[in-house]
């Protein structure tokens, strides 16, 4: 077998491809997708992945509820998302075909495992007739491959029992797709050796199945072409493929190192955040202390206790856990101690759809506590960016002695992308010092420590750690007297403290980057965010969190159609960057796409009195580029409609979008 194409097949160069592996939960589709991704990374492609798996631990095999899918986009240029609709769907059984087919554009390739299309599986998937011969697939290019039997045949030499050998069929599919997209094969073969051992039965079977799949593509007279996707021109550097959860865990480890503090993680397992707990638990060599707490409250409570002792206290959770942690976050606001609360958002309310993504915890992060309890909010925008967002959250928490909510989501958590590994010299020093000396003389002339004496510039309180002789003091959740920290019910003091705590958070605005606007139609600013010039685009699209890729992708497409559209993306949600108001007022129209019912839009309206438009979709899946594109075009054409006076509204012109744009 060779990794170059043979003469029987035409090899077509394409600039990008979107492949979706879909099968039953037990079919190993996530693994196949991961391996395809890894090989593509080695081929130098830019890429983005979207694993999509059911929340059920084991839905009945063969049913649509049990379908697990992995989508990856590979490209020879910089891409931002795993793609809207697959060019190739691998369907290992009828249920996988049924669940995924509606997303395929006409002309797409469908590779089906015909062995799985028996009456039983068809019935389980809810098909009354066989889609392979009833015309269902008429508009697709269908390759019928008996993947199961070919796998069994290939694995015969190992002597593996058919039931075991059958489990290698994901490697057959992977081999076939590896041929189809000219993936380097050594990467996968080496990985199998490393993972399963060179001479284990399962390692052998997987390698044979993989090679058989590859060879099948090459020799079967089935396929008229295979494809090449050339390497992308990524900025120079050393790259690795990371998922958001791994990057976030690494960011926390880095933050501990950069702050010169022990990381303490108190966490209760919850989908889709548990992998951060797993990753941090693995790295005890950094001295990380992890506690799998008895509940969400103890997770954050122990993290806050560790922070009181001087550690970098972290808790990780998802929406339901954030609800439970609210009281302790309020306590941290009152104690003014650093704390990182990671919320990997998922579809809610309540248990919702645990494995599906959503951006609907923004208002909870902002306001989900009683009393005036402002906390900084930072949101990651891509899997790799989770690393940087974690360091930024830690920096703010430590410097301002405040809990910080770091928002990720299920899409970022599980999705992966090539990530340029930073040099150590690129990482910021985020260390802060603790008080070592008394800071007050009491009325008896004794030197004492007052815990609520503040730094004039940052308003951060002085932070003395237990164990420091002479600085003994008491803090608590009761209102404190300004300065001394003694319990106080004085009405005026309370207002002073409320305003001080609030001003401290608001003041962080001076310590975060100004918002950059990507506005190529602005020759004056060159897109650097200087507002107020005539030449600005007509529309600003403002995004936050994981929709970054889809929104920027859509903006690029709309520009390619000749429209003038600017884009800005918020990483800091509280406080907002100092120039956000100025930017908003420079554009006649602002569109905010979100996977919620308009939470950022509400904040922007409240804060800046700007009548932003929303594009909202809440289906537990990432925004698709074309949807955002249509939403942008809809807003733009609405403008044209006014200009042209043709009396036709944009909504009529873009069918199917009336639900979303308002």
């Amino acid at each position: 077998m060779s990794s170059t194409t043979t003469s029987e097949h035409e090899s077509k160069v394409v600039d990008r491809a979107i492949i979706r592996f879909a099968g039953d939960s037990g079919d190993g589709m996530q693994l196949a997708g991961d391996r395809f991704t890894e090989a593509s990374a080695f081929a130098g492609n830019d890429l983005a992945t979207f694993p999509d798996y059911p929340a059920e631990i084991r839905a009945p095999a063969g049913t649509t509820a049990g379908v697990s899918a992995f989508q990856v986009q590979i490209s020879d240029h910089d891409i931002l998302t795993p793609g809207d609709a697959p060019n190739v769907l691998v369907a290992m059984n009828p249920a996988a075909l049924k669940v995924n087919l509606h997303e395929l554009p006409p002309g797409a390739v469908v590779v089906v495992n015909t062995d799985a299309f028996d009456q039983r599986n068809l019935t389980k998937a809810g098909y009354t007739s066989n889609p392979l011969d009833d015309g269902t697939l008429a508009q697709y290019k269908v390759y019928e491959v008996p993947i199961t039997s070919l796998t069994l045949e290939a694995c015969k030499p190992t002597g593996a029992k058919p039931r075991d050998a059958e489990r290698s069929k994901n490697f057959f599919a992977l081999g076939l797709l590896s041929w189809m997209y000219s993936r380097p094969i050594e990467v996968t073969l080496n990985w199998i050796d490393k993972r399963f051992g060179t001479d284990t039965l399962v390692g052998q079977a997987n390698k044979l199945a993989f090679s058989a799949g590859y060879n099948f593509g090459e020799t079967a007279e089935l396929f008229e072409a295979n494809y090449e996707v050339h390497a992308a021109h990524l900025p120079p550097g050393t790259y690795t493929t990371v998922s958001g959860n791994t990057a976030l865990a690494w960011g926390i480890i880095a933050a501990g190192e950069l702050a010169k503090r022990t990381v303490f993680l108190g966490s209760y397992p919850i989908t889709p955040a548990s992998d951060i707990l797993h990753e941090l638990s693995k790295h005890k060599e950094f001295g990380i202390k992890t506690l799998q707490a008895e509940d969400e409250i103890a997770g954050v409570g122990s993290a806050l206790g560790a922070a009181y002792g001087g550690a970098l206290g972290v808790t990780t959770t998802s929406g339901p856990g954030l609800d439970l942690k609210a009281e302790t976050i309020g306590l941290a606001v009152s104690l003014e101690l650093p704390l990182i609360v990671v919320d990997v958002q998922r579809a809610g309310p309540s248990t919702g759809m645990p494995t599906k993504t959503e951006q609907a915890d923004l208002l909870e992060a902002m306001y989900g506590r009683h009393g005036e309890a402002q906390v900084p909010v930072v949101a990651a925008k891509s899997p790799g960016h989770c690393f940087w967002a974690a360091i930024e959250a830690a920096r703010i928490a430590l410097k301002y002695r405040t809990p910080v909510i770091l928002l990720s989501d299920a899409y970022l958590a599980n999705g992966s992308e090539p990530w340029r590994i930073p040099e150590m010299s690129e990482l910021p020093d985020i260390s802060v010092s603790n008080a070592t000396e008394p800071n007050h003389t009491d009325n008896k002339g004794a030197k004492v420590f007052w815990p609520y004496v503040r730094d004039e510039a940052t308003l951060a309180r002085q932070w003395a750690l237990p164990g420091t002789p002479g600085l003994e003091h008491r803090i608590g959740g009761l209102e404190k007297e300004d300065g001394s920290g003694h319990v106080s019910y004085d009405p005026v003091n309370h207002e002073t403290m409320v305003r001080l705590r609030s001003a401290k958070i608001a003041g962080i605005v001076n310590d975060i980057p100004r918002l950059e606007v990507d506005d190529p139609s602005d020759p004056v600013s060159g897109g650097n965010g200087k507002a107020g010039e005539q030449s600005h685009a007509d529309l600003l699209v403002l995004s936050w969190g994981s929709t970054y890729g889809s929104v920027l992708g859509a903006v690029r497409r709309v520009r390619a159609r000749g429209h003038r559209v600017a884009h800005a993306h918020l990483v800091h949600l509280n406080p907002f960057p100092s120039n956000l108001g100025e930017i908003l007022s420079a554009y006649p129209k602002v569109l905010v796409p979100e996977i919620n019912l308009g939470q950022l839009a509400k904040l922007i309206r409240a804060e800046f009195l700007v009548d932003v438009r929303s594009f909202n979709k809440v289906q537990g899946i990432p925004l698709k580029v074309h949807e955002v594109e249509e939403a942008i075009l809809s807003v733009i054409s609405e403008e044209d409609a006014v200009v042209l006076g043709n009396g036709k509204s944009a909504k009529e012109e873009v069918p199917g979008e009336e639900r979303a744009v308002r």
Partner: protein, 342 residues
């Protein structure tokens, strides 16, 4: 918890009192507990700066404000969780949790049992007054069945917890009971709890003279004490009464019985051994009285030695480091496959 590693320091009671005036109701049992603690700490020779009191919500939770040490007054029920994180992050500190029956057994029940089963090296003092004092008199998880309070005008329907049984069931390695009428006994129990390596749980019968006055009078009152408190003394036969005329035996079904020593003979008495790994006898002792109205054991029920959580955590980190070496960030970020773009 164990003493800090540093040299003993000389302090007096005054050094341990903060400048804040205690604000409990006059006559409240909390005063005598505070005073016992402030008398004990100089004897322990520990440092104020390495001593931390944390508390949740309730009358007892004011305690840290009155101690001239580090202290944190937290939220309802969560002090054991906070203390767990603090102690794990800072093994050098002496961490005391001050709690009440509502705080520890009701809203914070989950954290309490998990701190105990993990054997985190902290000392938990639970002031049991069998009532909610701070919220002005509702029944608590230790109030007796049928208790008439503001929130149970026709009598409480809740079966109370037996805190000692609960602690033993939750795998606590040190379990003791004392009461606010006996300073010496309190100091001795606190000392032992402090010196214990691992989670130490101490129930303190505490009189709330405003909302549940005399709840323990039947057993702690000066005149009745000898007949109704059964002192547990390690290595000694369990006996009580004005002249030690009563004692405790085990019958052949493992049940404990209160007997007349004259009738059964001294050799038949149960000899108290707090170090028995098996919790059965300690548990049986905790069930001897159905409530503080009949002869009730006080003292140390159980004090067994078991690795504490923090030590195990430190050992684990050490072990991983000796295998993998000290963590290096640059290496970690390159731990998956990497490729280079020029």
């Amino acid at each position: 918890m164990t003493m800090s590693m540093t040299e003993s320091v000389t302090t007096t009671k005054k050094d341990w009192a903060s400048d804040q005036e205690p604000r409990w109701c006059p006559g409240c049992g909390d005063y005598s507990i505070l005073s016992a603690m402030q008398l004990l700490l100089p004897e322990l020779g520990v440092e104020r700066s390495r001593t931390v009191f944390v508390s949740g919500i309730g009358c007892s939770a004011r305690f840290p404000y009155y101690m001239n040490t580090y202290g944190a007054h937290l939220i309802h029920g969560r002090a054991p969780a906070f203390a767990t994180g603090l102690k794990l992050a800072r093994p050098d500190l002496d961490v005391w949790v001050v709690s009440g029956d509502g705080d520890a057994l009701s809203i914070g029940g989950n954290h309490l049992i998990h701190a105990m089963r993990r054997n985190v090296d902290i000392t938990i003092l639970m002031f049991n007054n069998e009532i909610y004092g701070l919220t002005k008199g509702q029944y608590s998880p230790t109030s007796e069945l049928g208790k008439v309070t503001k929130s149970s005008p026709f009598g409480s329907l809740d079966t109370p917890f037996n805190p000692i049984s609960l602690a033993i069931g939750a795998e606590a390695t040190f379990v003791a009971r004392t009461h606010d009428m006996d300073r010496k006994h309190m100091m001795e129990v606190f000392r032992r709890a402090h010196d214990h390596k691992g989670s130490a749980f101490v129930e303190i019968y505490q009189n709330c003279n405003v909302f549940n006055n005399g709840a323990f009078e039947q057993i702690t009152g000066k005149e009745v004490r000898a007949d109704n408190l059964i002192p547990l003394v390690h290595g000694q036969p369990i006996r009580f009464g004005q002249n030690g005329e009563k004692g405790v035996t085990v019958d052949r079904y493992g049940r404990l019985r209160i007997v007349d020593v004259a009738e059964v003979g001294e050799d038949a008495l149960l000899v108290h051994d707090e170090t028995i790994e098996d919790p059965s006898i300690a548990f049986a002792l905790s069930r001897l009285a159905r409530g503080p109205f009949e002869p009730t054991p006080i003292g140390i029920f159980r004090a067994v030695s078991k690795p504490d959580y923090g030590t195990m955590m430190a050992d684990q980190i050490e072990k991983v480091r000796s295998q993998k070496g000290q963590g290096e960030l640059a290496k970690l970020l390159r731990s998956s496959s990497t490729w280079t773009v020029d």
